[in-house]
């Protein structure tokens, strides 16, 4: 709590005033947290509602589509369709359906998969671990690789190597994931035979998909971090540090990097959503199980409850990630207070 209080006034108020300030700031923080949770819930609700609307607006009879989704080749009887309509509540007015679905979703019940007949919630929880392993290792690789690239590029003083290093990120972003994946498989699996090309058997199977997923992510992190580092290295406090006799490595790592990290953190938060989306392609290319795989399958057969479940799940992940990042931010830069008002240094009163 102490860490989240507003910065002390430079005019130096007395001890009692300081205590009052702390209490007030505590209240602010709690109010802030409550507001953030409400907003997060709003985002998830909006994602759910939007996906519901899209599904509702799609042409065709959802029940017929769903019945067909079971991949039964023989035509479904009218009686069976009516049964299904009643089972899924499609005989109700749209609004009633929406309210009913929403109420159940709020309790964690996302309905049953039409294609497989299993509860969507349990499908997601089963598919989660492999995707989590993939996304987490890709993110870790991207942070290390992207960070190293940015530091190397800004540390290099010679013009040519520096320009080459600085242009690598744009290249990384523009390479399509499936192509990178296939190239890695070709080189490291078929030719060099180091890693398995497909499947999800343990850590070795994770390497190629994680690398593929990490390439564009690392590129974006490197791009943002390099720009922020260059900006930070131009700041007057770097000049102060040079005046102390600091070496270039020290200027970079001790002074510029912590300042440059902030914008990179924001980008990393946005990239988590990106990683989930990319896992659809990666898990397909590498034939791995996971959230991406069930999403791809569900979309192919129009398994509406599963698609909606994945949408809501992704929204929850993204919202939680960004909430965490917002909470970490003020710990890295104490000028930022959780109330959202940055204490501008030297602000005139």
């Amino acid at each position: 709590m102490e860490e989240l209080t507003a910065p002390a006034s430079p005019t130096g108020t007395g001890g009692t005033a300081g205590a009052v300030r702390t209490v007030r700031a505590g209240g602010l923080t709690r109010r802030y947290a409550a507001g953030r949770v409400l907003r997060a819930a709003g985002v998830v609700w909006a994602a759910y509602t939007l996906s519901f609307l899209v599904m509702e607006l799609l042409p065709g009879d959802p029940v017929a589509a769903m019945a067909g989704a079971g991949l039964q080749l023989q035509p479904v009887s009218e009686v069976r369709l009516a049964q299904l309509r009643e089972q899924y509540g499609f005989d109700q007015p749209v609004l009633a359906q929406y309210v009913d679905y929403l109420a159940r979703a709020a309790r964690g019940d996302l309905g049953d998969s039409v294609a497989l007949g299993r509860p969507v919630t349990s499908m997601i929880t089963t598919a989660l671990p492999p995707t989590l392993a993939l996304a987490a290792s890709a993110l870790a690789l991207a942070l290390v690789g992207g960070g190293a690239l940015a530091l190397a590029a800004t540390y290099t003083r010679r013009r040519w190597p520096r320009q080459v290093l600085l242009s690598l990120p744009s290249l990384g972003v523009s390479l399509p994931s499936f192509w990178v994946g296939l190239m890695l498989v070709e080189l490291l699996s078929f030719r060099a035979r180091i890693f398995p090309a497909f499947g999800d058997d343990g850590v070795r199977g994770l390497v190629l998909p994680a690398m593929t997923l990490a390439v564009p992510t690392a590129a974006m992190i490197a791009q943002v971090l390099a720009t922020s580092l260059l900006t930070a290295l131009d700041e007057p406090y770097i000049q102060t540090a040079r005046g102390k006799g600091a070496s270039r490595a020290r200027l970079q790592l001790w002074h510029a990097l912590p300042n440059a990290c902030l914008s990179t953190l924001t980008v990393a938060g946005l990239l988590v959503g990106q990683l989930l989306a990319s896992s659809v392609v990666i898990e397909t290319v590498f034939s791995r199980d996971g959230i991406g795989r069930i999403t791809a399958d569900a979309v192919t057969v129009q398994d509406i409850p599963v698609v909606q479940g994945v949408v809501v799940f992704s929204a929850v992940v993204v919202v939680i990630t960004n909430l965490l990042i917002d909470l970490v931010y003020p710990l890295l830069d104490r000028r930022i207070t959780l109330a959202g008002a940055a204490a501008v240094p030297g602000a005139a009163r």
Binding site: T13, P236, Y237, Q239, G243, K244, G245, D333, R334, R349
Partner: protein, 578 residues
């Protein structure tokens, strides 16, 4: 001040052993003899290499500095004084090149010394106090480690002692409650405290030379005085040579033993401070002396007399209060004043006293928590929509920083015409003619219309900002520190301009400043603020000659040059040396 490396017994630790200072730079065994030359700069030339070819900014510069001596390098912005300081410290930006000359420090030429060896000198033997304390400290690092970093880089103390030494150094630099401050972040400290932290950093390793680049120009006069006093004391005690870079001749006169005046990249005059001020030989120095507001009291116009109480005040502010959420005290607390037509009221106080908040309340950029604001008798405290738009037309604001208040991408014509367009005054051709006329009024040629703000100097930009404020023929212009970002000679011109414009147009001014010397030239009446309250109001002459509140007295004392007398009698040790 005791050197950390000498006070600490652990120095025998092999890793932390004091590196042998590069032979010829070894500190003198006994206290430094005063006449020891510390720095000798000979025919130094520096140029900037920009896209449009090299530009020479320092020409054949010579400087000498002895131990214990303070040399002030005085000049306006663009005179090359900061470049000179950076060249000496080896801190030039990458686009700058030293074309020739030598900088002899001890017995080494810093110009030819490789970067690695320069690094061993910087911070250890050459301390640097940077310009703007607001941005010169790393915002995400605590104060203590930033101070201790010098000792760490030069391995002057074992690691586990650094926190304690940082607190000691802060204490010596005059930071109250140093243990708490060391754990805080820079933004939690006031500008004055931050400058003390920077001084603690510069003096941490007990350098032989201290380069202070405008160390106090971003600070209030009262804080400025305290900092410079303290810096002088510390340096005196340790026999440190100081190169003080400043645009303020009054500061130089008060603090320096010798003054070197720079303009156009050359030193045009050097000499003992008192001789140089008493009898400036170069025309440029003469102009500087004349323009310094506090150095030439004879030049300051007699305090302007109030046009007398008119039938009704133009602006009447009653019991104005503004409370910021989360602050224990109101920023503006029960403030009452009036401004008559054609009158200038100066609102004076240190930063944090509520001056700027008052200006923002009066212009209704900020909503008051309590009190009344009347313009021509009409209550505008809660004006909204069209009423507020009308108010904005009659009350204009000119900001402190002309570099930030003009859109660099707009032409000057666009800048000045914008308010006319916003209020649908005139037609397209008449607006342009009006803009030219306004430029003429503020002393700029009509050709300026098609230039962009980025091409203009600070003084020219502030003239443009004034022209923009005049465009709608307001009844009141609020100036928030309009000249504190400008060089002294430009300040004098702008103040003259403001007085002339007021005489010609009859506009009233609310003039906000922390500098009483500036105020004395323009204001009819002065209101002194402290901690959100007005503590003294009165006609300018009266407030200056018979201040009734101690806060006013403090502000008066802080005017650089007001206490010039002590330095005119040089300290005893200097007499001995000569």
């Amino acid at each position: 001040m005791t050197s950390p490396d000498r006070t600490h017994p652990d120095m025998a630790h092999p890793d932390m052993a004091h590196p042998q200072p590069a032979g010829d730079l070894a500190e003198p065994a006994a206290g430094p003899a005063r006449q020891d030359p510390v720095l000798a700069v000979r025919s130094l030339s520096v140029s900037y290499h920009t896209g449009s070819g090299p530009v020479r900014v320092v020409h054949d510069l010579d400087l000498d500095l002895s131990a214990g001596e303070t040399l002030a390098l005085v000049g306006e912005s663009g005179s090359g004084k900061t470049t000179t300081a950076h060249a000496i410290a080896g801190l030039l930006p990458s686009m700058a090149r030293i074309d020739g000359g030598s900088v002899t420090f001890g017995r080494r030429d810093l110009v030819t010394l490789p970067e690695r060896q320069l690094r061993a000198l910087r911070g250890r033997y050459i301390g640097v106090v940077p310009q703007d304390p607001g941005v010169a400290l790393n915002p995400v690092r605590r104060v203590g480690p930033q101070v201790a970093e010098v000792l760490r880089i030069h391995r002057l103390a074992p690691r586990h002692d650094l926190p304690r030494l940082a607190v000691e150094l802060l204490d010596q630099a005059g930071v109250p409650d140093p243990a708490r401050r060391a754990r805080q972040y820079p933004h939690e400290l006031s500008g004055g405290l931050r400058q003390r932290v920077l001084i603690a950093i510069a003096l941490a390793a007990q350098p032989r030379l201290l380069i202070a680049d405008e160390p106090t120009s971003a600070l209030d006069v009262t804080v400025q005085r305290r900092i410079l006093d303290h810096l002088g004391r510390l340096a005196d005690a340790a026999g440190i040579a100081i190169l003080l870079v400043t645009h303020d001749l009054a500061v130089a006169a008060e603090r320096a033993d010798r003054i070197a005046v720079m303009t156009g990249g050359r030193v045009v005059e050097t000499g003992p401070a008192r001789d140089l001020l008493a009898d400036p030989s170069h025309p440029y120095t003469r102009r500087l002396v004349e323009d310094a507001p506090s150095l030439a009291p004879a030049r300051a116009r007699p305090a302007r007399t109030s046009p007398g109480p008119g039938p009704a005040p133009l602006l009447a502010v009653e019991h104005l209060t503004r409370h910021f959420p989360g602050e224990a005290h109101p920023a503006v607390d029960d403030v009452t004043f009036t401004i008559g037509p054609r009158e200038t009221l100066a609102l004076v106080g240190e930063s944090g006293s509520g001056k700027t908040t008052t200006a923002r309340l009066v212009t209704r950029l900020l909503a008051p928590s309590g009190g009344r604001i009347r313009l021509r008798g009409q209550d505008v405290t809660t004006a909204r929509g069209g009423e507020l738009r009308a108010l904005r037309r009659h009350v204009q604001l000119v900001y402190q920083n002309p570099y930030a208040s003009l859109d660099p991408r707009h032409t000057i014509a666009q800048v000045i015409i914008e308010p006319l367009r916003a209020y649908r005054v005139g037609t397209r051709p008449t607006r342009r003619a009006r803009a030219a006329e306004l430029l003429d009024r503020v002393g700029l040629p009509a050709a300026t219309l098609d230039r962009r703000a980025a091409e203009l100097s600070g003084g020219q930009r502030q003239r443009v900002a004034i022209a923009r404020a005049l465009a709608l023929e307001p009844e009141l212009i609020v100036f928030d520190e309009p000249v504190s970002a400008l060089d002294v000679s430009v300040q004098a011109q702008i103040l003259d301009l403001l007085a002339r414009v007021q005489d010609e147009t009859g506009v009233a001014y609310l003039f906000i400043s922390h500098d009483l010397a500036v105020v004395s030239q323009l204001a009819h009446r002065v209101a002194v603020m402290r901690a959100g309250r007005v503590v003294e109001t009165g006609p300018t002459g009266e407030v200056f000659t018979r201040p009734s509140h101690p806060c006013t007295q403090e502000l008066l004392d802080a005017i650089p040059g007001a206490r010039r007398t002590p330095r005119q009698q040089p300290p005893a040790h200097l007499e001995e040396a000569r």
